[in-house]
């Protein structure tokens, strides 16, 4: 009975929001800009404040998908790209339509610098923090992933891990969403590879049951006027029997 007056006093003294009923925290998604891809993640995009991972065989399109997502996010929010490989070419982000003015590229000389920069920028509130490496076990110290996750949570940034096939347990356990990319077919224009058609499948998720998948068409940057980017392919546009994809003519 004394609760109501006490709450009223607190609200009056410190503001209306100071005491509120508890409820599960809502996980927000950072939209990828492609409805089909957003639809399978369980939160309408990459989970903010969590670590996601894109994985796939070489030439599966996983790395380019990461660059496309970086480009998409950079158009509306700052993006930090921590490049442990020292080999990512930021011009690709621009080629995918990204805003380089919103990109902060970290090239660490030692792993500790990279993890520290990722934490600091995530805490500062970049929209997305991408980490790229080839051999994660060599650069991952025990506490680094946990500290990164805390920083992402604090800054409500979406973390994205790219590259490498095997993750050390310390990092793997903290991945909230894992999307496996598989190349279905090359997209050819006059004999030139201008993109690929791929399938993204949820293989690990803390948000929904894994197994959801979608099909995408990724157009590579080309010197001639073809719009680079990503579009989703509707299931009905896919002819499984023929082993071919019949894509509608839409492009972004």
């Amino acid at each position: 009975m004394a609760l109501e007056p006490a709450l009223a006093t607190l609200n009056r003294r410190y503001g209306r929001e100071v005491v509120r009923a508890g409820a599960p925290a809502r996980l927000l998604g950072l939209s990828t800009g492609v409805g089909e891809l957003d639809g399978i993640t369980g939160c309408q995009g990459l989970p903010q404040g969590r670590i996601s991972r894109l994985v796939g065989e070489p030439s599966s399109g996983a790395f380019d998908l990461g660059l496309v997502l970086a480009a998409e996010v950079s158009r509306s929010a700052p993006v930090a790209l921590v490049d442990f490989t020292l080999g990512v070419f930021p011009g690709d982000i621009e080629a995918y339509g990204g805003d380089l003015d919103n990109c902060w590229l970290v090239r660490p000389r030692r792993p500790v610098e990279g993890w520290s920069a990722a934490r600091t920028l995530a805490k500062a509130g970049v929209g997305m923090c991408i980490l790229v490496a080839e051999d994660w076990s060599r650069i991952t110290s025990g506490a680094a992933p946990a500290a990164l996750l805390a920083a992402l949570s604090e800054g409500v940034s979406a973390g994205l891990v790219l590259g490498g096939q095997l993750l050390p347990a310390a990092l793997r356990e903290r991945v909230c969403l894992e999307l496996e990319c598989r190349r279905l077919d090359w997209d050819l224009t006059h004999g030139d590879v201008c993109g690929l058609r791929m399938e993204a499948r949820v293989t690990r998720s803390h948000l929904s049951a894994p197994g959801a998948r979608c099909r995408l068409r990724l157009s590579f940057p080309r010197p001639y006027p073809i719009r680079a980017g990503l579009v989703g392919l509707a299931e009905e546009e896919v002819d499984e029997d023929e082993g071919l994809l019949r894509m509608a003519g839409s492009s972004r």
Binding site: A25, G29, L30, S31, Q44, G45, L105, G127, G155, V156
Partner: protein
């Protein structure tokens, strides 16, 4: 999703909202003659609405108040609270907006809902119309009638002849048959034309439908064509969802039309902020949001609309919460023609979820905050850790690497 196939419209007919409010405040006046007044355009008091017994005595909306008093001297006379009326109207429109993206609130006694196209739940049009009626009935608390037909006039007539609380569906192609006994004096034509029709012995729509359009045009001019179409259920008047802004939503007009989807997405943040402000003003959260893109035509004949909806697992109240689903909706829609109007509506309104997320949730930082973080990193690890990349202006760009200039700021 676009409108396709045969056009099907539902007309919902209900007592004037001012009368509904009066009945709520004075239940004893149900079935009694009631006059509801307000200020007219000239400043004098006019009748805003009247109950059916008063209407039966010749009182009409818009009539001079004194004349109405003379016609119905025993009627109860009540003022209208315009603020409460506007609130009820908004709730009613919101209920209908949850049923279809194309809703026209014609006046405070009639609304039209577009039932064309397939229903995501696979329901028949009668069931969909009934659902619209139930949604509105729950808000108003009075019984209403619903008519479904191939045109605006057919559905309006069907709603008028339907029993209270019932849906009357006029099947496709049987409009002329259903209108056959409708009197010409009740047609939306000039009174002079109706009088001439009566002098010719044409008393019903069925009588007029038997005459060719050429003959009607010869006698009545352009109104003869309208008469011919009305009597055969072929009137082309579209419903106009753009008559009023969405009940809980934002609408942005794009001058000249925008064809590039990227440009459309550019305004997503502003749309999300606008809707968040509207939700905050009403103290609600959206369980579902709908994005509608309208092509050139502005809601009249020939307009095309694309819409998509999303219902995340948790209600959305802030711009940050709306932003992700909204971008996802933009990703789904690829209209092939220039877009002139973008609408974002909040549906399934609920109380904002009680959660402490607002106490700790961060926001996307601005450039200065990030620059300060970068400066701290440079202080700690030295220059050359964090880089900014710019495209060199005016460089021809033969070698991609040479197009970029790096700076460790």
């Amino acid at each position: 999703m676009t409108r396709a196939g045969a056009r099907r419209l539902a007309c919902l007919a209900f007592p004037h909202l001012a009368l509904v409010l009066a009945w709520r405040a004075h239940p004893e006046l149900r079935g009694e003659p009631v006059l509801l007044g307000g200020r007219g355009p000239g400043g004098g008091q006019v009748v805003m609405a009247a109950s059916p017994p008063a209407l039966a005595l010749g009182v009409r909306a818009g009539q001079d108040w004194r004349r109405a008093e003379l016609l119905c001297p025993l009627a109860a006379r009540l003022p209208v609270d315009l603020g409460t009326l506007a609130e009820l109207r908004r709730s009613a429109r919101l209920a209908l907006a949850g049923c279809s993206p194309l809703v026209e609130w014609t006046d405070d006694t009639t609304a039209y809902v577009d039932l064309s196209g397939s229903d995501p739940l696979g329901r028949q049009e009668g069931a969909r119309a009934a659902q619209c009626g139930r949604a509105l009935q729950e808000v108003l608390g009075v019984t209403l009638s619903v008519g479904v037909g191939q045109s605006r006039f057919v559905s309006w007539v069907a709603a008028r002849v339907a029993d209270p609380g019932r849906v009357r569906v006029v099947p496709q192609g049987r409009a002329a048959e259903s209108l056959a006994s409708w009197p010409v004096t009740e047609l939306p034509i000039m009174g002079e034309t109706a009088e001439r029709l009566l002098r010719f012995g044409l008393r019903t729509c069925g009588d007029c439908a038997a005459i060719t359009m050429a003959d009607l045009q010869r006698q009545f001019g352009p109104e003869g064509i309208l008469l011919h179409r009305l009597c055969r259920g072929l009137d082309l008047a579209e419903i106009d969802p753009g008559r009023e802004p969405p009940p809980c939503g934002v609408r942005r007009s794009l001058a000249g039309g925008v064809e590039d989807s990227e440009s459309l997405r550019f305004g997503a943040a502003e749309l999300a902020r606008g809707l968040a402000e509207e939700l905050a003003r009403q103290g609600r959260a959206a369980g579902r949001i709908r994005l509608t893109l309208r092509g050139e035509g502005g809601g009249r004949l020939g307009e095309r609309a694309w819409w998509s909806e999303v219902a995340p697992s948790q209600p959305m109240a802030t711009a940050e919460e709306l932003m992700g689903p909204l971008l996802s909706l933009f990703g789904r829609l690829h209209p092939p023609i220039p877009i002139t109007v973008v609408e974002l509506e909040a549906l399934d309104l609920v109380a904002p979820p009680a959660s402490q997320i607002g106490m700790w949730q961060g926001r996307v930082a601005d450039r200065e905050v990030i620059q300060r973080a970068v400066n701290r990193l440079h202080d700690r690890f030295g220059k050359g850790l964090v880089w900014r990349v710019e495209v060199r202006p005016g460089h021809p760009g033969d070698v991609p690497e040479e197009r970029l200039s790096w700076s460790s700021s």
